[in-house]
């Protein structure tokens, strides 16, 4: 048995014990790092107990990054995934927000669109993969289309809910001051719904990042999902599989942080305090 597992456990304990005494900002970094290190220790321990050869140890995974960087396809695959997510997400926002505003504001619009949206929404974007490939072939087009579908529904539904939740007193204020048409939308409807629209964007981005990996595993020839599949098929390189999974997780965190920056604007902060 290697000493790696006990060492990792020791490091974890040190991180947690020292972390507790640190200033708040440092604690927020050290405590989760400590918990993650416990996870690594358990992972190493499990590998030692089962003596697995196929499944990589934490050390194997770390070494796999050297291979990934050497092969220079990692950057290309990251860019391919991000490209599809970015364009699909932008298309989904550019259509989902207007549709949500319409269905939320006009009662007839709601009656006409809500059942359709609610009926299409539960269909997993994964189920659309065959159709996406049929329409767009293997490549970016299918990926962008799938991400468009993944983000359109959460964004449309969130926007619709945001508009329908505008408080009566704000509607009446708007009426009282003679706001109507475009001005009403710009000054009241859109800003009132904005906090919920941003929450919907966050949810959509999360779903998009989940779906793109699955889509690339099945129907594309580049991207992080394809990299995972490729690593398994080319001689069962599970160290590369796990290394890529960790990269996917880290990029997911960064994407969420990016969308969350929208919550910091003065115009929307009111929507995130307890009401």
């Amino acid at each position: 048995m290697s000493p790696a597992a006990p060492i990792a456990l020791l490091v974890a304990v040190v991180l947690l014990v020292v972390g507790r005494r640190c200033p708040e900002r440092l604690q927020k970094l050290m405590l989760p790092l400590g918990v993650a290190t416990i996870g690594v220790a358990l992972w190493q321990f499990a590998c030692d107990v089962y003596g697995a050869t196929i499944f990589p140890t934490p050390g194997d995974t770390l070494l796999a990054y050297a291979d990934l960087l050497k092969s220079d396809r990692l950057m290309g695959d990251i860019v391919a995934s991000l490209f599809r997510v970015t364009w699909g997400f932008l298309l989904g926002s550019a259509t989902g927000i207007p549709v949500g505003l319409l269905a939320g504001w006009s009662l007839r619009g709601f009656w006409a669109l809500n059942p359709i949206i609610q009926g299409l929404r539960p269909i997993s974007p994964i189920a659309w993969i065959p159709i996406a490939i049929l329409w767009f072939g293997i490549g970016d087009g299918a990926g962008v289309f799938l991400i468009f579908l993944s983000s359109f529904f959460p964004i449309a539904v969130g926007t619709m809910a945001g508009v329908r939740n505008i408080s009566l007193v704000h509607q009446r204020s708007a009426q009282n001051f003679g706001l109507h048409g475009i001005e009403l939308f710009r000054r009241v409807v859109l800003p009132a719904a904005m906090p919920q629209i941003i929450t919907a964007l966050r949810i959509a981005m999360g779903v998009a990042w989940l779906v793109i990996v699955a889509a690339e595993m099945v129907g594309m020839e580049s991207g992080l999902g394809y990299l995972i599949n490729d690593a398994r098929n080319m001689g069962g390189r599970y160290d590369l599989v796990v290394a890529t999974m960790i990269i996917i997780g880290l990029i997911g965190i960064v994407l969420d942080l990016l969308v969350r920056q929208l919550e910091r604007f003065d115009e929307v902060r009111w929507g995130y305090t307890k009401r």
Binding site: H170, N176, F177, P191, W270
Partner: protein
Amino acid sequence: MGIHQAVNSRHDDPAGHDAPDKVVVCGVSKAFAKGGGELAVLEAVDLTVQDGQFVCLLGPSGCGKSTLLNIIGGFERPTRGSVTIDGEEVARPDPRRVFVFQEYGIFPWASVWDNVALGLRHMKDKAAQSEIVQRYVDLVGLGGFERTYPMELSGGMKQRVEVARALAVSPDVIYMDEPFGALDSLTRLQMRSELIRIWQAEKKTILFVTHDVDESIQLAERIVVFTARPGRIRDVVTVDLPHPRDLGSAEYGRVKNHLYELLGVSHTI
């Protein structure tokens, strides 16, 4: 019209007003559909308010006084009867008459400045616009908070923003629906005295809904007392006390006793 004028001559004038009639409520009733039947909220309300008067609508919760204010403000339609302002029938809300809500009608997504400027958004002369906004921000004591957003303000400050937003459009009439109800009692007292100061300076007609007997005596020239649902006007009481009003005076106590009697509640606990 004959009946209405009779009501008019009975209730009005003792305060020495010879100003023209501003708001005339004539035979207004309101019923809501409720489980197949009807729920009568207001019944045959007649009321005349003169230009520049401060009138309180006082009554127990659920007596329809807020409904009446919403009808006068144009947000709801009466089942029967009509409301006219300056001889024109009210059919919808109008920017010349501004509502101040209890639950903060100002926009949380806009700064204090932008909220107060809402009603002035079509002014071509931007310099004149800023001058007016600044004047009313200062008038309600929020100078220095122009760039602040409502979530950073206390309840009392938010309500001041709403009062400034209303005053900035120089309205003929201001409707206030329990505007200080959500504030603590000290802030409430302070807001009342500021409102009186502003009313004396600006001479607007104010219709003010409250269920608080003291609040109505501190503020109003005339107090319209409602019965419980369905709301009818029980009586109109004139408060002939000069501002600033002495809350401990004998006359204050006399009016208070009279109001308690009209409301049918005992004055001792």
